[in-house]
């Protein structure tokens, strides 16, 4: 168990409050991409960040935004490093994050069924149907596995006919 100094706690909550550049309704903390904050010397801090997808272009903006917030808070040297392991999963999005996504019109990712995934039932886990964020119907269909960003799929609600983004499970 890692123990945090009060300063590290404070810096972590500042870094965590930075909004996601592509989904500004979510903070980085809610997205679950912040992996750690370490004060190495007075004024010198290292932040560990993990990308959602390996090619996600938002990671550079996230790094810059975190640096800006921490410099504004009096830090003199801020370095943001990218870590790959353990790999980020949509299960890392907090409950509050999921609620905000739905409110924003994006169907949140379904939690992984650990049993299905470990049994290797298929490359992409299939679980409950995706609920329409507009009318709440579970009668929705897939239009495309890929949408406006790498992390979303495009679906349509059969009940209200509205298309919507679904944050797909990873």
């Amino acid at each position: 168990m890692v123990t945090w100094t009060p300063l590290e706690e404070e810096l972590r909550s500042l870094a965590g409050s930075v909004p996601d550049p592509e989904l500004p309704v979510l903070t980085l903390e809610e997205l679950g991409v912040l992996r750690g904050v370490e004060v190495l010397a007075p004024g010198h801090v290292t932040v560990r960040l993990t990308p959602t997808y390996t090619g996600c272009p938002a990671i550079e903006t996230m790094s810059t935004d975190i640096e800006r917030v921490l410099y504004d808070h009096g830090m003199t040297e801020v370095s943001v490093v990218t870590v790959l392991s353990p790999a980020w999963s949509t299960d890392d999005i907090s409950a509050e994050g999921r609620r905000k996504l739905a409110e924003f019109g994006i169907a949140p990712p379904r939690p992984h069924d650990a049993a299905t995934a470990s049994a290797g039932a298929g490359p992409v886990p299939v679980a409950l149907s995706v609920r329409c964020p507009h009318c709440g119907s579970t009668d929705t269909e897939l239009l495309s596995r890929f949408s406006s960003t790498a992390c979303k799929a495009l679906r349509r609600c059969v009940a209200c006919r509205e298309p919507f983004d679904h944050f797909k499970e990873l």
């Binding site: 997808y53 090619g55 790959l84 980020w88 490359p123 992409v124 790498a150």
Partner: protein
């Protein structure tokens, strides 16, 4: 560093080929899908090439013969079915490869554990389209069969062992063949029976021997960087 270059070049070159579909895909959803797959591959390429050296120098300043990608990924897009056949062959292979790497503890384990989840979507995309085109109209069936046949000779190289990539290549090959056979048969397509390497070209991309269209692809990919060194936006 041979290993990081080989895997990184596979991802980079296929990413570039898929990017060529931008503005040309048959429907908007596919335009977005192919670009998203290209973006995932580019992310993998950046991490892998950075293990081997400077990513920009490696991508933009190497000569054709210094690239270590398999010849399959450099093949021109052809029609949509041809691209899907290339996606099917490659993504089923890459999925199996990353699964094995992720289960180990070598230098690629971290990246593989992350990328295998992305590649699962690429694979699903390719398999669904193979079923739809193969078991579709007479025209789509013929085009899909043509793509599968034309690219078959480039598939043998996928299972040529790469130094530093610690996987069971034989198991990889047999599992790939099983998966391929299942999908193609369900799609009412015929699994090609010819050799998986051609005597005159295929099977030497890892040694820097590439097919004729690759030179032009590299020229286009590197043109901007070579004309305007250090250009950024």
């Amino acid at each position: 560093m041979t290993a990081a270059l080989a895997l990184g070049d596979d991802a980079l070159v296929l990413s570039h080929r898929l990017g060529e579909w931008a503005g040309h895909a048959p429907v908007l959803e596919e335009e977005v899908a192919l670009a998203n797959i290209a973006l995932d591959l580019l992310g993998q390429a950046r991490i892998l090439l950075s293990l081997a050296g400077d990513e920009d120098e490696l991508a933009y300043l190497r000569e054709e013969r210094a690239f270590r990608n398999v010849q399959l990924v450099e093949q021109p897009n052809g029609d949509f079915a041809h691209t899907i056949a290339r996606q099917l062959y490659f993504s089923v292979h890459q999925h199996g490869l990353y699964e094995q790497l992720a289960a180990g503890n070598g230098e690629f384990a971290g990246l593989a554990a992350k990328a295998v989840k992305e590649v699962a979507y690429h694979r699903d995309h390719a398999e669904q389209w193979t079923l739809r085109l193969g078991d579709g109209t007479a025209e789509s069936h013929a085009r899909m069969q043509h793509g599968v046949d034309a690219l078959w000779r480039y598939t043998g190289e996928l299972f040529q062992p790469v130094e530093g990539v610690d996987v069971d290549w034989q198991a990889l090959h047999s599992r790939w063949l099983d998966s391929l056979t299942t999908v193609l048969e369900r799609a009412t397509l015929t699994v090609p029976t010819g050799p998986q390497t051609g005597a005159w070209t295929a099977g030497a991309g890892r040694q820097g021997i590439h097919t004729e269209p690759f030179g032009r692809m590299v020229a286009e990919m590197q043109h901007l960087h070579r004309s305007h060194p250090g250009a950024s936006w």
